[in-house]
Amino acid sequence: MTPTTTAPTPAGARTRTSVGERIVEIVSDSGEGAQKAGQTFGTVCAKLGNGVWTVEIIPAEIKPPARSRAGASGIRVRFASREVTNRGERADLVVAFNEQVLYGRIDSGAYGPGTVVLLESKWAEDPQEEIRALYAEALADLRRLGLEVFELPMERACLEVVPDARVGKNMFVVGMLCEIFGRDLDKALEEVATVFRRKGEKVVASNQELLRRGAAFAAEQVPFAWEVPAHAIEGERLVMNGNQALGLGILAAGIETVAMYPITPATSVSHYLGRALPAVGGFLHQAEDEIAAIGFAIGASWAGKTAATITSGPGLALKTEFLGLAVMAEVPLVLIDVQRGGPSTGLPTKVEQGDLLAALYGATGDAPKIVIAPATIEECFHFVVLARRLAEEFRGPVVVLTDANLATGVAPIPRPKLDPTWFAPPLDQGPWPEGVAPYDWDLATGLSPRAIPGQRGGEYVLTGLAHTRNAKVAYDPRSNQEGCEMRSRKLAALATTLVPPVPHGADSGELLVVGWGSTLGAIEEAVDDLRREGRSVASLHLRFLSPLEPGLAEIFARFEKVMTVEINYSDAPDLPGIGPENRRRAQLALLLRERLLVDVDCWSAVRGQPFGPGEIAEAVRARLGAASSDRRGAA
């Protein structure tokens, strides 16, 4: 981001530069409250009308030792004069409570030349010589890398207000940021009051004082100031992460039974539901394992209560057999998979879009099912509502694929206006119409009405064995063929109700970037940037992966080249031994190639990190044949 305008500021000598957006990080040892600081600052920005995306930086260990390189705990706040849809790339400003935690962040590419670091300076005077030496060494390293470091005695300033700086520094930092970005201090003080409400007046007062001091401190010690003007927002906004949005979606869909087994990064959905589901009259079941969880949900659903189960990669693997049963026996079910890095236990806290093929093809035999992927936090909410309806209308499981990036990203979304049709309808216990088979398949659509236990006259025995429309076990040659046809036809029927997606940027051109899931924001931002450079690029984002949205062949035909961008593994195209016949491609690319017979290329990586718009743009430039330093793409 380059500065756009320069405006004089009230803060004395400094000029306040107006910019379109800024990325700020607060990093520290864990337990120092950096995350609360970032959330508070982010909320203030959101309230003032900025687009905001915050994401927590979580160490791999639960309590890593202090001052450890891999142990950074913190938060990133990206805010702008427009909607923010992703975490962006390099930070503009970092507040760090020690110098060691910066290393891990640099390693993952979060900082680079130009990043400004406000660094706690007390380590320079540490009684331990080793620490002083490490500090000096790090300072040199940082500067060598082009970071602009300001050493500040933040902790000392805090100690003037509180006896233990560990628990006070964070609001001090919020004060600093408010000053640096010219935020209305009253709004921030109000927010502090809300955050600490439950802890009593004394705590509120002391934190408000810290905030004021921080602001004063920055005014004195920080030699720059920025402004990120707000944009107009309409209507009420809610601030949440994607997992909370999923949880709220469950409530709004009237899903009253959720069965799960804890697994990162899906667990926080159930943390939310642990409290919220009972509040709306539902029940959260923490089952003994993932198999029991899906079995429980299927049982509840068969008994007429639409149910959901929530998991991540390894848990999805365990649910494979039951997922096949839900397809075969046509039991509505919402299965949410918050994807993490794989294969196997993989990267539990990191992002990947690696479960698409497993969701589609994991079950043995032919198990057609609906698979959808929300692309934004707002869609996390609405897609659960959609999934519940699809599950019941199409009588089968609906897999909702989100990922760790959506799960942990926090942003404001418009407050949904609740619609009574979202709720699951009340349990039908009226008599079952005589003569209607338990699988009264409509030959054209494969759809059939469903008898719920308790409905007189609807008695039937659900089975995972091949069966007739009367739910009778049948091993004859026709019944299995018919059942498979009927279940497959449901997807075709659903597809006829979908409309073709609309490309972003342009309707035709040199290259079309195709994505799905959480990469939407970064891809579209990249496309916008590339188009501004004059490149003939557009993007298309798919929400329905099964059935695929219609009209793709027609859209693809308008572009010279089509390429997916996905956070999953693909062989780099130019490796020795890799040719078009044996290249293992990214997962959506595989699907599209098979269906459309179009030479869909892909650019993907499995680095456990969301893509930033810059690296996507870079990859596109490389594929377009422009000058690029990285022809190998992500590999």
Partner: protein, 317 residues
């Protein structure tokens, strides 16, 4: 109750259910299979209790015994091998009005389903769990089950199992929060029926260990027991399984065992001396997960919507 049309309950007294009301067609077990006896006993209880067929949820895994639901006129769920119990818990969690009966085999329950077995006992939701113990994998044609006695050759262990068998009732007794464990035999229809009746009446998860004949693959395992009634010990008690005069006459060995005596149950469950049949253990006050899971069922749509708006409020900025 839950979305029932208002006129529904008025209809109930007009209906009378006969044994045929529960008949799901010709059962296709082998001739002489013990499963038939259990089917009859369950149908009888349903008739005696006048349970509307649509209120029955017959849930099973996979195995010969797990075909049970197909032979009942009722709602049935013939699911996956080893997974009857999680499904049953899911059904019961929010449908307290349904009568849940689970059919599972010694392989289905004690081998692949062992984890769920332990945890379902712990959850203690109100349902009857019938464990059909024929000491073998029947449906897959004679492989060793955890209950196969030593010395019985199978297709996977032609010289017999390596390890002594586990006893279903005894092992169940060791599970946390277990509230009802009984044992019976398919070849004593009166005792079988009385045991299932007691299980049905218990509020909680009632495990019934049923020794079940499989003339096809384990024709002789119960020979001694069946030929010599002295190898059986009939448990009697006013709080136990009601033992008919006819049953009492059959077994000379009888013991009045108070089903609240957990230690005694443990000792009696041991099959090395005699096979104790009847109610081994019952704890009517063990906590039940379904008493928690039904919370909120009574909320109206309006209450739920209001609560949901409050939830949204929490995220407002």
């Amino acid at each position: 109750m839950f979305g029932l049309p208002a006129d529904w309950s008025l209809e109930v007294p007009e209906r009378y259910f006969t044994l045929e009301s529960y008949d799901g067609g010709v059962a296709r077990w082998c001739p002489g299979c013990g499963d038939f006896a259990v089917l009859s006993a369950v149908q009888r209880i349903c008739r005696d209790e006048q349970i509307p067929p649509e209120k029955l949820a017959m849930i099973s895994g996979i195995g010969c015994s797990s075909r049970f639901p197909h032979y009942m006129h009722a709602y049935g769920f013939h699911g996956l091998h080893g997974r009857a119990l999680p499904v049953a818990c899911g059904v019961k969690a929010r449908r307290p009005d349904l009568h849940v009966w689970v059919t599972t085999g010694d392989g289905d329950c004690c081998s692949i389903g062992a984890g769920h077995w332990l945890h379902a006992a712990r959850y203690n939701m109100d349902m009857v769990v019938m464990v059909f113990d024929n000491s073998i994998y029947g449906l897959t044609k004679k492989q060793t089950s955890p209950t196969t006695p030593l010395g019985v050759g199978t297709n996977t262990h032609p010289d017999g199992a390596f390890l002594p068998p586990l006893d279903v009732a005894q092992t169940t007794l060791g599970f946390p929060n277990v509230s009802f464990v009984a044992r019976t035999v398919d070849w004593n229809p009166l005792h079988l029926a009385a045991t299932l009746e007691a299980a049905y009446r218990h509020k909680g998860t009632s495990f019934v260990h049923i020794l079940q004949r499989c003339p096809t693959y384990t024709p002789n395992v119960f020979d001694e027991l069946r030929q010599n009634p002295d190898h059986t010990l009939l448990l009697t008690h006013p709080d136990g399984v009601a033992a008919d005069e006819a049953v009492r006459r059959m077994y000379k060995n009888q013991l009045e065992h108070d089903p609240s005596d957990y230690g005694g149950a443990h000792r009696l469950a041991d099959r090395r001396e005699k096979l104790a049949i009847g109610l081994l253990y019952r704890n009517p006050s063990a906590p039940r997960l379904d008493s928690f899971s039904i919370r909120g069922l009574d909320l109206t749509r309006e209450q739920r919507t209001a609560a949901l708006e409050r939830e949204l409020d929490r995220f407002a900025v």
